[in-house]
């Protein structure tokens, strides 16, 4: 097994781990970390699988750099929303009632 394929398999494992965490973690901070693990898994597959005979391919490296910038931006937004939600509701978890969307009869009127 080449080193590149090994990286790719580890990347696949991280992706699966992140996916499970994103769905199963109740806390938002846990979900955000899980998303970052999932993303790292995809990046590792991208650079690992693209190696030909041990020579790194520069194109996926550039893609991963772009991907990291995107992931940082997404993480920042997620953290900002989590803080706001924790300030408003006192807990950094997604409220249950908003998932099943029928309107909350006690909620405020208007838009």
């Amino acid at each position: 097994m080449s080193l590149g394929l090994f990286y790719a398999l580890v990347g696949g494992g991280l992706f699966a781990l992140g996916l499970a965490g994103l769905i199963l973690q109740p806390r938002l901070l846990g979900k955000i970390l899980a998303f970052n693990i999932l993303g790292s898994g995809a990046f590792l597959v991208l650079v690992g699988l693209a190696q030909r005979g041990g020579t790194p391919d520069p194109v996926p490296q550039a893609m991963v750099l772009t991907g990291i910038v995107v992931a940082v931006a997404a993480t920042a937004l997620a953290l900002a929303l989590t803080r706001r939600l924790a300030d408003l509701s006192g807990a950094a978890v997604l409220p249950e009632d908003d998932a099943r969307a029928p309107a909350n009869p006690r909620g405020p009127d208007g838009d």
């Binding site: 990046f43 939600l85 409220p95 029928p102």
Partner: protein, 483 residues
């Protein structure tokens, strides 16, 4: 400079980026004017591009003169241009609406203009991208802008909905990126044109295609992955709801269509297509029934989106492994449904917003008196409803007709039943609103007037949805360029 030599492709991305950045620099709540001017210019550029397409065929542009694989290529074919036209046709009236809306209701106004500019730039960029990775970047930009807009009112419900939306959209694009990684690892390219000739059914490519399509289903909110949509679309400020429901979910649908009938065509299995169709049918019924049960007007409209997304996915069983003529008709019907729904749903949210503003409540049972005080808004709502039901001569009818014909030609009558049943259910939830609005004003209630531009823009969008039916043949001709 001759008009033939103007290249609209890069400007369609740069222009919204420019006005978005400018309105950000101007400060909170500023920038409505430059946004509207920018969107007017954008509409002109798209029309120019459509004209170039019909006279000269598919348009290409190598950004910065580099060319793939080092640089980024932009390509506009018929499908791209129809999507760009849809974006321009919705974004301009919504911007005019938003300008008046935020005067009446300032919640969420602060960063609406920069974020909606980035949203439009991401949409245009996505529709013009010719490689899988650039599409990934635009998808993420689109998702982040859309989530920012959803959260902008800062209320608890909106922030929770935005958080849920963010997690769903990140998971969707994460799955897509994993697919891109597997495709690049296998073929050493992300160019749609190059991959088109290479893809064959290897297990790793099947996995990649499955991940990418699943990611797009989540982002398009196909039942049962729609959980994030109603709170986000129903809870955002009304101009944002219109943009999200009309345009943002269409981007991921466009990508599913592009991948399924393009790069991954050799893998497309009839059984998988039937599953997508079945999920679409379930979405039509579940979304419509939920819409009927909602107490709040905007939630009704949001669940109507869940139902209408279902029709989009009927394309897959009708155009996969079926005779070429029926498949072409179904494909055209699917794209037309995306456009018809964009216009009608933007109109419906806009009209609903005006009605809620007038009635002072978004509960459907308190809409009494709206029919007398805000007839134009209610008329726009009804007109948009007719488009969603698919009555002639609207864009919705052209759509349903094409899909119905394909269903009958390929002997798949059960999809025809979904089309007819869904239309009846849409009629039921639209009439529920109309009946409530024609009721007399409730005691202690008073319907106030709203800014005229709120009603007129809703009416213009709904009219565009109706007229689409009369010009469907032109749209289909445009779609055929480069297809």
């Amino acid at each position: 400079m001759a008009i033939e030599s103007v290249a609209p492709l890069p400007w369609l991305v740069l222009l919204p980026l420019a006005w978005a950045t400018l309105s950000f620099l101007l400060g909170p709540s500023r920038g409505a004017g430059i946004a509207i001017v920018g969107l007017l210019l954008q509409a002109g550029l798209v029309l120019l591009l459509a004209w170039q397409l019909t006279t000269m065929g598919t348009q290409h542009h190598a950004v910065g003169g580099w060319g793939a694989p080092l640089g980024i290529d932009l390509v506009a074919d018929g499908l791209s241009v129809v999507m760009l036209l849809m974006t321009a046709a919705v974004a301009l009236p919504v911007a005019i609406y938003a300008r008046a809306w935020f005067v009446a209701k300032p919640a969420g106004a602060a960063w609406f203009w920069p974020l909606s500019g980035f949203l439009v730039a991401a949409l245009n960029g996505l529709f013009l991208s010719a490689d899988l990775f650039n599409i990934y970047v635009t998808l993420e930009l689109l998702g982040l802008a859309a989530v920012g807009l959803t959260a902008a009112t800062g209320e608890r419900r909106a922030v929770a909905a935005a958080m849920r939306y963010l997690l769903a959209t990140l998971l969707g694009s994460g799955a897509y990126l994993m697919g891109v990684a597997l495709v690049y690892g296998t073929y050493g390219s992300v160019s749609l044109a190059v991959l088109g000739g290479l893809v064959e059914s290897l297990p790793v490519v099947m996995l990649a295609a499955g991940l990418m399509v699943a990611g797009m289903l989540l982002k398009t909110a196909l039942f049962p992955l729609h959980f994030w949509l109603p709170p986000a679309h129903g809870g955002a400020a009304t101009p944002v709801s219109a943009l999200l429901s009309a345009l943002v979910i269409k981007a991921s649908f466009y990508l599913a269509l592009r991948l399924w009938f393009g790069v991954f065509e050799p893998l497309a299995a009839v059984s998988a297509a039937q599953v997508l169709g079945a999920l679409g049918a379930a979405a039509v019924f579940w979304g419509s029934v939920q819409a009927l049960l909602q107490a709040r007007l905007k939630m009704l409209v949001a669940y109507s989106t869940v139902a209408q997304v279902g029709y989009l996915f009927l394309v897959f069983p009708l155009a996969t492994g079926t005779p070429a003529e029926a498949a072409a008709g179904a494909w055209q019907g699917g794209v037309l449904q995306a456009v018809a729904h964009a216009l009608a749903k933007a109109a419906m949210f806009a009209a609903a917003g005006a009605m809620i503003l007038g009635a002072g409540s978004d509960r459907i049972d308190r809409l009494g008196g709206v029919g007398a005080r805000l007839p134009l808004a209610l008329f726009a709502f009804g007109l948009a409803g007719i488009v969603l039901m698919g009555l002639p001569p609207t864009g919705g009818f052209a759509t349903k007709w094409l899909l119905l014909m394909a269903a009958l030609e390929t002997g798949q009558w059960w999809w025809a039943a979904v089309l007819v049943g869904g239309g009846l259910l849409a009629a039921a939830y639209v009439f529920r609103v109309l009946l409530a609005a024609f009721a007399p004003v409730p005691e202690q209630g008073r319907v106030t007037g709203v800014a005229r531009s709120l009603e007129w823009t809703a009416f213009a969008l709904a009219t565009a949805g109706v007229l689409l039916g009369l010009f469907a043949a032109h749209v289909v001709t445009l779609l055929d360029v480069g297809a």
